[in-house]
Symmetry: C2
Subunit: 179 residues, 2 copies
Amino acid sequence: MARSRTRDEILAAASRQFAESGYKGTSLQDIAAEVGCSKATLLYHFDGKDAILRELCAPAIAELKDLLDEVGAAPGPAAARKIAVEGFVELAMRHRREIQVIYGDLPALLLQPALRPVHQLTEQLHATLAGTSGTAQSRLSAKFVLAGLPAVIFACTEFDDATLRAALIATAGRALESL
Amino acid sequence: MARSRTRDEILAAASRQFAESGYKGTSLQDIAAEVGCSKATLLYHFDGKDAILRELCAPAIAELKDLLDEVGAAPGPAAARKIAVEGFVELAMRHRREIQVIYGDLPALLLQPALRPVHQLTEQLHATLAGTSGTAQSRLSAKFVLAGLPAVIFACTEFDDATLRAALIATAGRALESL
DNA sequence: CACAGAACTGGCCGATCGGTCAGGTTCTGA
DNA sequence: TCAGAACCTGACCGATCGGCCAGTTCTGTG
């Protein structure tokens, strides 16, 4: 995979800047400046700005897909919801920046080719959290949780991971417990 | 105030496009095209792109300030929190698009001159929701609610306002009730 | 040492960005 | 009737965007 040191540094700088300034708000020149190389070097290692975003988000998107497979194999709706919440918290914490980039710039960023699969995956996750009842209240709580989790995970760097994980699962659980 | 019909149409188009595509993702040309006028006309009516954003968000920001004054005059922490949640839901619903623009693009958009006051106001709101205990859990829940509310309000156009308002207050209340 | 291929760069491209300006048109009140 | 205000526009500006390419430097191998 990671074939060159410069290539990794480009991904790292892009991750940081995309999360901080947004995809549109970050130029190739900005990334190149942080890496300490020329803009042409970025385009030597990647097929374009979109390709950088795609490769950056690929692991997170793949894990999101795995999570949904796991959710699909759950014995019942309650178990599915539990897996979805805890799994998403875990996933979002492992990929803080990417999740921030993806979920922080919706819906504008969803039009980006690199994030094509995300929309469907998010819809599935939403459906799981909302449960089978399909009431307005349940769908709304699900959206609430899906929006709140990434925002908090990115914003809260002050807590250690264990504390953050436990608190998020508790808060999300309370928000969803109307069902 | 609104001195011309074209001026209002510019604000309406800008509001819609900023919310849909983000501030950076919307060009003056895009707005002009929707209005059906030239780009120069936008800059005749406004001092620049930033001025459009400023005027667009001014009412929402003013109401946010009023809300915080009201919160400050509450008899106790519990009452303050109740006023904050219900007031913010009401405010965010009345200014769906603007709230989406402001809260949907953080933190990149906060650097925009037009949104200078927003950061401090948001901090105050956060402090109110978190309460005086200052525990990690309470601060985290507060951020969770502040991120979730705007996202849901913008995303959920399927429910009537009364349903939405009631459900949001209930969900936010549950998320916060660890205190 | 020679050489192939990977890594990297400066310079350039067309497009588009926000913004300016001179000038034309339309509205309005004395 | 007519001057001035209000309104609107096409043409243009410098800056910056993502992307491209020819050419140079680095590096590992026979």
